[in-house]
Amino acid sequence: MSTLSAIPISYYLVFCSILFCIGVTGVLIKRNALLILMSVELMINSINLLLAAFSAYTNDPAGQIFVFFIMVVAAAEVAIGLAIVVLIYRTTHSIDIDVLNKLKW
């Protein structure tokens, strides 16, 4: 079948690497805590897609189960993370992470 040679697994590797690096850059350049959480979501998604791709290419369903559990944990993580962001906003009236430097010294 032509689809086998159409999309090699390396395409997924490159695509997911680029997506992951965009997420890393987002964590580095943003100081809005919300946008940092969103960049983390981007990274998680790139890894999920790569796991699913390898699972589909090697015919191993364990990878897709693993992606499912990652999604479960990510949902819990976002719920807690956003609650913390709301709490930070309530105490400092800003979600700028550079305000949170009390633990620095």
């Binding site: 979501e41 999920n48 949902a75």
Partner: protein
């Protein structure tokens, strides 16, 4: 050939909206572009014939998580520019660091190829029937434990979001 075009289209869409998440000034635009990225990734799951994951991805990410983000942005009235963006040299350094990481990853992955056992378009492992059987046979304990995790997360989120009334 047709799947290849779909792959390129979804890839370009995902990468473009991922970049726009970082470039756009208002947080609400970032959230909406992130939703677009998630839909593109859901399309990728469909392309891999991982139908269960595609549906779960749309429900969990585009449904639950994005609504949470949108609510937070609107609740906190954050729909304005960042007050003090990071200085230019920090941004340049961050982009360079990201590009270095990308270069390293691509250098590692270059020339890598696995022996593809099957055609991802005709594989059956991503279907709900197949995954459900495995999930309820081999991974029953982790599946049940994840409900405890969700309960903990829910209690934690409520507890964190509650206004402090004790000790006053």
């Amino acid at each position: 050939m047709f799947t290849q075009y779909i792959f390129y289209f979804l890839t370009v869409m995902a990468l473009f909206s991922a970049v726009m998440v970082l470039v756009s000034k208002k947080p609400i635009h970032s959230v909406l572009f992130l939703t677009l990225t998630f839909f593109a990734i859901a399309g990728h799951y469909v392309l891999l014939n991982a139908q269960f994951l595609a549906v779960v991805h749309v429900i969990v990410y585009a449904g639950a998580i994005m609504v949470l983000f949108l609510f937070t942005v609107m609740l906190l009235n954050l729909n304005k520019d960042e007050r003090s963006p990071k200085p230019l040299w920090v941004k340049i350094m961050a982009i360079m660091a990201g590009a270095m990481l990308l270069l390293t990853l691509i250098g590692v992955f270059r020339g890598y190829d696995i022996k593809t056992v099957n055609d991802p378009l005709t594989t059956q492992i991503g279907l709900v029937k197949e995954l459900g059987r495995i999930l309820y046979h081999d991974y029953l304990i982790p599946f049940e434990l994840s409900s405890v995790l969700f309960l903990t997360a829910m209690v934690g989120a409520v507890l964190l979001g509650k206004k402090e009334q004790i000790n006053k």
